[in-house]
């Protein structure tokens, strides 16, 4: 009895297993049947349709692995840009798939660019698509482009392999804002619902090269209220914003100190920003405390940097310079655009939850009333590798 049960079981199991292998593999996606999306751009047309453009990677097989390099360096015909129109982004995507023999695969999309038109009409539903559909990555970098986003995809950067790569590297270097999809979603659902995205513009190509052989770089910041674009910050002000958000990683501050000719440049090593909110009665105030550490990288003045007095004076001036930058950005954001992308709302919420709850529905009215003070504590750690001026003849106490 037992043996025959086992035998029966075996006769059932073996065909089942065979069936599994033969008919199965439902999710199998052969690598070469995929069209890999490296970057996507979304524009809107006048009749409110979405134009989805994707940059796809085209693997060119190398003829022989032993000899020969894999194509020329730089962006040759390794990427292809295709677009399609649709009422929503998913519709556009399916239209796009019709035009391509391989299955579109979003798993490696690293950059997402919203065109200006799209940004102005609202990005919320687009963000929803990218988060809901499991394929795209949550840490794709998001940008807004000046003008049409599709044009940026069509560029052929001279150094990187393709535009997506160039954008990724730009984001990574933290020169400008770096916002991923996840960050964007968080900003949109958080209380004030205001968001920022880095703004891209196409660099003019160098002489002699075709109009497409250039890159796009980050020239500023796009500011959103709810999910619509309402204004921009230029590069200068964007810097200030970075200071406010505690996201500044790379900064060179140059100014001419009082009473001297020439300029000094300070290279940022570390920086930390803290927001300290305060409510006294009806008065709401916020102190932005910044603490930085810097090195000197250029000195065209006659000052001797090894002198402690000099250093102290310079620190004070550096603080003022930073305060100015921050203040300018704050001015525009707080009073002109009235968007809180600096995290003020959160700070108040954390410390004064009850008061916050009273004003949360009209935060954009309350925000300009907040008195903001900026306190900077700058430290100059090192004067670089040389003490006094190399370019002028020696004077002063040190050899």
């Amino acid at each position: 009895m037992r043996a025959s049960i086992v035998r029966f079981g075996a006769w059932v199991m073996l065909p089942a297993l065979a069936l599994l292998v033969l008919a199965g593999c439902w999710d199998r996606k052969e690598l070469n049947d995929l069209a890999l999306v490296t970057a996507a751009a979304i524009d809107r047309t006048e009749d409110d349709a979405i134009v989805l453009s994707v940059q796809l990677f085209v693997p060119r097989a190398s003829m022989s692995n032993q000899m020969g390099s894999i194509g020329t360096s730089g962006g040759d015909d390794m990427t292809v840009v295709r677009s399609a129109k649709g009422k929503t982004i998913a519709a556009a995507m399916s239209r796009l798939q019709e035009r391509f023999p391989r299955k579109i695969f979003w798993g490696h999309s690293e950059a997402l660019i919203f065109g200006e038109s799209t940004a102005k009409s609202g990005i919320r539903e687009l963000v929803d698509f990218f988060l809901r559909f499991p394929q795209p990555r949550e840490h794709a970098n998001v940008f807004v482009s000046k003008g049409e986003a599709k044009k940026i995809l069509e560029l052929l950067p001279p150094i990187e392999r393709n535009q997506a790569e160039a954008l990724r590297e730009l984001s990574r270097s933290r020169v400008g804002l770096r916002i991923t999809l996840m960050d964007l979603a968080e900003m949109l659902i958080s209380d004030p619902g205001h968001a920022v995205l880095p703004l891209l513009a196409i660099l003019p190509p160098p002489e002699g090269k075709g109009p497409q052989q250039t890159i796009a770089n980050i020239t500023g910041t796009a500011v959103f209220r709810e999910d619509r674009l309402i204004g921009t910050l230029n590069q200068q002000l964007s810097r200030g914003l970075l200071w406010l958000r505690d996201e500044i990683r790379y900064s060179v501050v140059t100014f001419s100190p009082e009473g001297s000719d020439g300029y000094l440049s300070f290279y940022l090593l570390r920086s930390h920003t803290k927001l300290v909110p305060r409510i006294e009665g009806e008065r709401w105030s916020m102190t932005v405390k910044i603490r930085t550490e810097n090195d000197v990288i250029e000195n065209t003045t006659a000052l001797d940097l090894l002198e402690p007095d000099v250093t102290r004076k310079l620190e004070a001036e550096l603080e003022r310079a930073i305060e100015r930058r921050v203040g300018q950005a704050l001015e525009r954001l707080q009073h002109v655009l009235r968007t809180d992308v600096m995290g003020f709302a959160d700070a108040f919420h954390r410390k004064y939850p009850r008061e916050w709850r009273k004003v949360r529905d009209r935060w954009d009215k309350k925000l300009p009333e907040v008195e903001v003070g900026v306190e900077v504590d700058a430290n100059i750690l090192r004067p670089g590798e040389s003490g006094s001026i190399v370019t002028r003849s020696g004077n002063g106490k040190r050899p």
Binding site: G9, G24, W26, D27, P134, R137, E138, M182, A185, P353
Partner: protein, 367 residues
């Protein structure tokens, strides 16, 4: 005793731990956030009380009837017929719970990784491996747990470590914005999960060292609470308020990790953690179902029914809910009643009856 295998107390701990955690770790952030908001990290700690209640009840019953599991205790305390009914309740309960569990596992794997593979295939694959383990008896289960769970814990610890730089403790503030009530409300569903500790009643008789049973079970409860709280904290510190909107926050967190620009997309890690942990849980529930069935039906040996029961669990998994949304809805609402009533109320009832009977017998003897 039908099953002569023995497990060490540590193996019992390692069997109990994934029983709660395997399913909870994926769902606890979203479930608690819905009610508790930012205070969700406290909910698993409140829920611990249910776990203690269950563990102590089971221990008290075990002390009175050392070699028996709940089924036999039921028969002994309530009489043959009512005892049988209790047994049948448990059979159906574990059948349903097992099916739901397998379905949860299937939905997760299918929804995140293998979207087009039919869910029954995914569930069936796991059940085949579990059947193989269950056939070996509780001893094999204990040993498997001893190997698998430490590895799983290690992987989880690694994941948490990798996320440390992105954590923002500030998101925990403001705490207790609305008082303690939200976190208590959030602890209701996890309480039901903790009642799954009643499995100890089936494990106590198989221990090598019975005196340590209670100690290790309590330790298990504490460990589970710690783990769930940690999960909630990490989810909160990473995602802030978004934690509740994501279906599987742990997965999203793992997706987000990028180490040295090379190590990306560690969701396979999460899948490994989950598949291995869930395997232990499913195998245990499978084993419990087999035991309940064998004991309720009065079989002399449970081995012949081990395989067919697996098929039944698969069917139960397919039938239990039509889609993911309903499943989450059930888990959020009716399963709480189901779990608490079967896993907490009935054992407490049995204990009370046993106590009363004991007092009566002592009084009768004293006369």
């Amino acid at each position: 005793m039908l099953d002569n295998g023995k497990i060490t107390p540590m193996q019992m701990l390692l069997l109990l731990f994934p029983t709660i955690v395997a399913t909870a770790v994926l769902l606890v952030p979203s479930v608690t956030e819905r009610h508790a908001g930012r205070d969700m990290w406290l909910s698993p700690i409140w829920a611990m009380l249910a776990g203690f209640a269950v563990v102590l009840t089971a221990w008290a019953l075990h002390r009175r009837f050392p070699d028996e599991t709940l089924i036999e205790i039921g028969e002994r305390v309530l009489g043959k017929a009512p005892g049988r009914i209790v047994g049948i309740i448990y059979v159906f309960f574990y059948w349903h719970a097992g099916g739901m569990l397998v379905r949860q596992y299937g939905e997760f794997v299918s929804g995140v990784f293998l979207m087009e593979t039919p869910t029954p295939v995914i569930m069936g694959g796991m059940l085949v491996v579990c059947a193989y383990a269950v056939r070996g008896g509780v001893e094999v289960l204990g040993r498997c747990a001893q190997i698998i769970i430490p590895a799983v814990l290690g992987m989880y610890a690694l994941l948490v470590l990798l996320q440390l730089p992105s954590l923002e403790p500030g998101r925990l503030l403001p705490m207790f914005e609305f008082g303690i009530l939200p976190s208590l409300k959030g602890s209701i569903v996890p309480q039901a999960w903790y009642t799954e500790f009643i499995a100890v009643s089936f494990l106590y008789p198989s221990l090598t060292d019975r005196s340590k049973g209670l100690r290790w079970a309590v330790f298990a409860v504490l460990l589970v609470a710690f783990f769930l709280t940690l999960t909630n904290l990490v989810a909160l510190m990473l995602f802030g308020e978004m934690a509740g909107r994501l279906v599987y926050p742990v997965m999203s967190a793992a997706r987000y990790i990028v180490v040295a620009d090379f190590l990306e997309h560690l969701e396979a890690f999460v899948m490994a953690i989950w598949v291995f942990g869930t395997f232990v849980k499913i195998a245990l529930f499978y084993h419990l179902l087999v035991q309940c069935t064998a004991r309720t039906a009065g079989l002399s040996d449970w081995r012949p029914i081990a395989m067919p029961v697996g098929l039944l669990i698969l069917l139960s998994g397919i039938w239990s809910v039509p889609n993911l949304q309903e499943m989450i809805d059930v888990l959020d609402s009716s399963s709480v009643f189901e779990l608490v009533s079967v896993q907490l109320a009935i054992p407490v009832l049995l204990l009370l009856v046993a106590l009363i009977r004991g007092k009566k017998a002592a009084a009768a003897e004293a006369k």
